[in-house]
Amino acid sequence: MADKIPVLSIESLTVDFDLGKTCHAVRDTSVRIEPGEMVALVGESGCGKTMTALAAIGLQPRNAKIPQGKILFDGSELRGLEEDQWNQYRGRNIAMIFQEPMTALNPLMKVGRQIAENARIHGAAKEEAKTRALEVMKQVGLPDVERLYNEYPHRLSGGMRQRVMIAMALVNKPELLIADEPTTALDVTIQAQIMELIRDMNREMGTAVLLISHDLGVIRRMCSRVYIMYAGRVVESGKTQEVLAHPLHPYTKGLIASIPSLEKRGQRLSSIPGTVPALEDRSEHGCPFYNRCQKRRELCRKETPPMVVHKNHMALCVDAKEELGL
């Protein structure tokens, strides 16, 4: 696994905001995605998963600073690129789809042109762009593409809009697709359709996918590896099956235990007390999960826990070593 050059490798990335003092939205985060792989980034809201993804394509907010870290795309460093250099990559090599398809599409532009525009920007001639747009629209399962090409976004349903977004992202056959909660705004049966589509595209076109989600059920079916983020840090990572079956970090355990299901009827759900600390309340030192952890000790407050790695399964916890029996 280590010999291949990853499509995207984020190495100890930190994203800071200045809110009176320096606050870390993302801290020391490393994520790597191999070609053709589907990888998940999981966490609650405010955990920094979207910020990590935005920084990976240079779309972090203006007031964000990136004091350290590398963003390697196919081996070449992207961090610190100028805007026009970024534009060479964005939409061509790396594409991103967002949660809410209605706000991400331009309501005043016909959907066909929005898709073709992305091809045009990256050098396709007008006619070619249209052909490619129609082709990719068919690929993502949109019906009656010739007619839809000339429709405005408001005439489409939520599921169809998300398909348009995916078509737009895939028109240049990117190496990497970042999908930020692509189905949260959709109904259950439509969610299943869109997830299936993303998986098909991954298989057929070989596009690597970074899927950001909070839904462990989706991730279990879709992704081979998973990164669990909490309060700006990756607290656990590894093969999806392994992480979900034998979680090491107390946060991952809590997350899995708090999912309701038929089997848990009649029992109390175990929940994680408290909420994710706000950006300005996070302490500089110690474990990010300290204030909600059931097993915390004095040690956890003072020192950042060690990163325990065993057979590609990583956890950021003082107890992880013991749990692995090392």
């Binding site: 609650e44 809201s45 969610q191 059920g217 009827r265």
Partner: protein, 340 residues
């Protein structure tokens, strides 16, 4: 609660032929059509469906936020379909609702204490400020917020805490029946578990009955005693939540459960093609036939009725017998749903 227990009881809410039409230009949209439902005291009745299927409209009609076009609602035997103004206020004491989004459902310009106290003032409960304060304190404690929250503002609270406040506001008047309209969909998983635990605790403590509306099958099957599945304004399946999740009868329920992708699940997935048809223009025959995997010619022509099957289950599908082998209990005429 077991079936036998429920049979001995009078339903708390008896809903017959409840219909709601909305005008949309010159069209009439039937958001809810001919719903028949009994909700028993002390149970959690889960209502599931995709957006636009009429589940929220149904919930809001029960608590009189919307007036039904036709049909009747009885609360403990008493007709409350169209109450006069004065009685309407009294009904608020007995039936309450908790909404989905705790960010927009509570007034940002009032303190938590004021918000929770307001219903008491409106209904003239508690003669003195001290009496009211006591009651507010008790309810806040019940939802897991200490006294210091009284003077705090909504913007200082997290989503989970706000939802606790919304629940406190609903419970301050000691209602019997609470509609929970997607109460946890805006919350994160770990916080969602806190609120679900709270709702179940409160049910025990105050003897509440819930109509629990959600699109999340995991949440609904965890919470509910019975589940009703809605599609385009009518019930397509109704039954014990255990039975429905283990063996769905209606193809739509089957698809919903397979799409919900539970973490431990290895059930075969059924992916429906196409979108939900517009309720303004529902398909002829069975409303689900455009997306159904088991559609026949009969389904395209004839609207199936909600029929009772063995094991106290109800399903509106022509093909239940051949697909599952379950036998209908009574003649279909017994259910008074009309085809249109």
């Amino acid at each position: 609660m077991s079936n036998a227990q429920m049979e001995n009881q009078q339903p708390l809410l008896k809903i017959r032929g409840l219909t709601k039409e909305f005008r949309q230009g010159n069209d009439r949209v039937k958001a809810v059509r001919q719903m028949d439902l009994d909700i028993y005291k002390g149970e959690v009745f889960g209502l599931v469906g995709e957006s636009g299927c009429g589940k929220s409209t149904f919930g809001q009609m029960l608590v009189h936020l919307l007036d039904p076009t036709s049909g009747t609602i009885r609360l403990a035997g008493e007709d409350i379909t169209r109450p006069p103004r004065r009685e309407r206020k009294d009904l608020c004491k007995r039936m309450q609702i908790v909404f989905q989004d705790p960010y927009s459902s509570i007034d940002p310009n009032k303190t938590i204490g004021w918000l929770v106290e307001e219903p008491l003032k409106i209904h003239g409960i508690g003669r003195t400020q001290k009496e009211r304060d006591e009651k507010v304190g008790k309810v806040l404690q019940a939802v897991g917020l200490d006294d210091s929250y009284r003077t705090r503002w909504p913007n200082e609270l997290s989503g989970g805490q706000r939802q606790r406040v919304a629940i406190a506001i609903a419970l301050i008047l000691d209602p019997e029946f609470v509609v929970c309209d997607e109460p946890v969909s805006a919350l994160d998983v770990s916080v969602q578990a806190q609120v679900l635990n709270l709702l179940l605790d409160l049910r025990k403590e105050f003897g509440l009955t819930y109509l629990f509306i959600s699109h999340d099958l995991n949440v609904v099957s965890y919470m509910s005693d019975r589940i009703g599945v809605m599609y385009l304004g009518s019930l397509v399946e109704l039954g014990d939540s255990e039975a429905i999740s283990r063996m769905p009868l209606h193809p739509y329920t089957e698809a919903l459960f397979s799409a919900s992708m539970d973490v431990e699940g290895d059930r075969e997935r059924i992916i429906l093609t196409g979108d939900l048809p517009s309720p303004a223009n529902p398909p002829a025959g069975c409303p689900f036939h455009t997306r159904c995997v088991a559609c026949t010619d009969r389904c395209k022509a004839e609207r199936p009725l909600l029929r009772e099957f063995e094991g106290g289950r109800f399903c509106a599908c022509h093909r239940v017998e051949e697909r599952t082998g379950l036998k209908p209990v009574a003649a279909p005429e017994q259910k008074e749903e009309k085809t249109e």
